[in-house]
């Protein structure tokens, strides 16, 4: 099936098989390997991308189902070489260890700040509740997101 959608703001039109997930299309067909596959069944959050601005699991999304919609991946977060304030903040606060969960973390954080720029710690924790990190213990990730909310104000 020929499916047209927006990928990081650019129109794309791809030949997609019904059994391909959005994750497979992003990583294999588009070679955007920033989005990670963790569990593959929607539990871990590593594959999180934004669909029309809202976080979804790309591993559970049929690619044919994004027709006409806006998909945003980690590759679209920075503006050229200028990192997004969230990315700057993650670096500054040492929120990254192995890094595998970070693309998903950044995408849910971006969605949260777009929706609610003045998020509280509780809201930040609720927003990342579905994103597993097995290294950091989350504290620095929460600090980094909160600091970015300050910067964006």
């Amino acid at each position: 099936m020929l499916v047209a959608f927006q990928l990081n703001g650019e129109p794309v039109e791809l030949e997609i098989k019904p059994n391909q997930t959005l994750l497979e299309v992003i990583r294999r067909d588009r070679a955007l390997t920033g989005t990670k596959e963790g569990c593959g069944i929607g539990e871990c959050g590593a594959c999180t991308v934004l669909l029309d601005g809202w976080p979804v699991r790309s591993c559970l999304t049929l690619a044919v189902d994004v027709r006409g919609r806006q998909v945003a991946t980690i590759e679209g977060l920075a503006q050229g070489v200028k990192l997004h304030p969230l990315q700057e903040s993650f670096i500054k606060y040492g929120a990254i260890q192995c890094g595998f969960c970070i693309p998903g973390m950044l995408m849910v954080a971006k969605a949260l700040l777009d929706e609610k720029p003045k998020s509280t710690e509780q809201e930040v924790r609720a927003a990342i509740a579905g994103n597993f990190c097995r290294c950091t213990g989350y504290v620095k990730i929460v600090e980094a997101i909160l600091a970015a909310t300050e910067d964006l104000r």
Binding site: M1, K17, P18, N19, Q20, T21, G40, I41, G42, E43, G45, T48, L51, W54, P55, V56, R57, L60, T61, L62, V64, D65, V108, A126, A127, A129, G130, N131
Partner: protein
């Protein structure tokens, strides 16, 4: 994932026809969160997927005082959890929706999908049973309305016929002076429930007396259980801590949990008792604050 044929019908009628035509190998898909995960694990291997997202009019929420709340099956959980009127007047339903999976799952999963998947740990069925919701089921030339009790038939099994589709969820407005609560015990932020309790209590005109009660316990059997005896124990009585404790014990007596990774049967039964007690206290407190 294994290959399958993918069809996007534009009408419910056509969707029903496709389900009939491909009976035994077709599956209906909406949000996909449960189905795609099961297909990846090869727990189900449908040859045909019928996606009803292109069917218009199935993603609406509407309310009229007399007929109550109407929710389309394609409404996603985030919308139920955030909807101002649902939060204000059907609060326990908003609480249940906000407890489903993770934020990303709530952006994908639909109310209809959650109910039709009929997971014994599902969050919406106990809440909707507590609110005495009705489900409108359609197939060509036929329409029927069933209660949640009738709908949930067994583990992962509903009363839906092969070519029948859940078309609408109808929730009556709780009586005046009512308060509700939905409580879920879970091991981690995004886990399925160990036990769930939904309770709705209505104050009598006589101060301190309970006029109506509905209590549902979930995850302790094949489907949510309406704890009738426990509810009857409350009606017409003043709700002292002792009366609430007695009702909680009665409700827990109806639990039929099985042991699994989330706990032993005895543990779940005990947690059901404690969570019924807490839910009743909270619902009563809320009922006391509403007119």
């Amino acid at each position: 994932m294994e290959e399958f044929r993918y069809i996007e019908p534009k009408s419910l009628r056509r969707a029903c026809d496709l389900l009939k035509q491909h009976q035994g190998e077709a599956k209906l898909i909406a949000g996909g969160v449960s189905l795609i995960a099961m297909m990846k694990n090869r727990l189900v291997r449908p040859g045909v997927l019928v996606n009803i997202k292109a069917v218009r009019g199935l993603d609406k929420i509407s309310f009229r005082p007399r007929s109550g709340l109407r929710i389309g099956p394609l409404v996603i959980h985030r919308r139920v959890a955030a909807h101002p009127l649902i939060r204000e007047r059907f609060g326990l339903l908003a609480e249940a929706a906000s407890e489903i999976g993770s934020p990303a799952i709530r952006n994908m999963g639909t109310v209809g999908g959650n109910l039709c998947h009929a997971d014994p740990n599902g969050d919406l069925a106990p809440a909707l049973l507590c609110l005495d919701a009705r489900l409108k089921l359609v197939r060509p030339g036929e329409k029927r309305v069933v209660s949640l009790d009738q709908f949930c038939a067994d583990y992962y099994t509903t009363c839906l016929e092969a070519d029948e589709i859940l078309a609408e969820i109808l929730v009556p407005l709780p009586a005046r002076r009512s308060g509700g609560a939905y409580l879920k015990l879970k091991r981690t932020a995004t886990d399925m429930a160990v036990v769930q309790v939904a309770a709705c209590l209505t104050r009598d005109a006589r101060p301190g007396v309970c006029a109506l009660a509905r209590i549902v316990i979930g995850s302790v059997g094949p489907y949510p259980i309406l704890a009738r005896e426990a509810a009857e124990h409350l009606v017409g009585r003043g709700l002292s801590p002792e009366v609430i404790e007695q009702a909680a014990a009665l409700a827990a007596g109806q639990a039929q949990p099985s042991a699994d990774a989330r706990g032993s049967a005895d543990y779940k039964k005990e947690m059901a008792r404690i969570f019924v007690e807490r839910a009743l206290k909270l619902a009563w407190e809320r009922a006391s604050g509403s007119d």
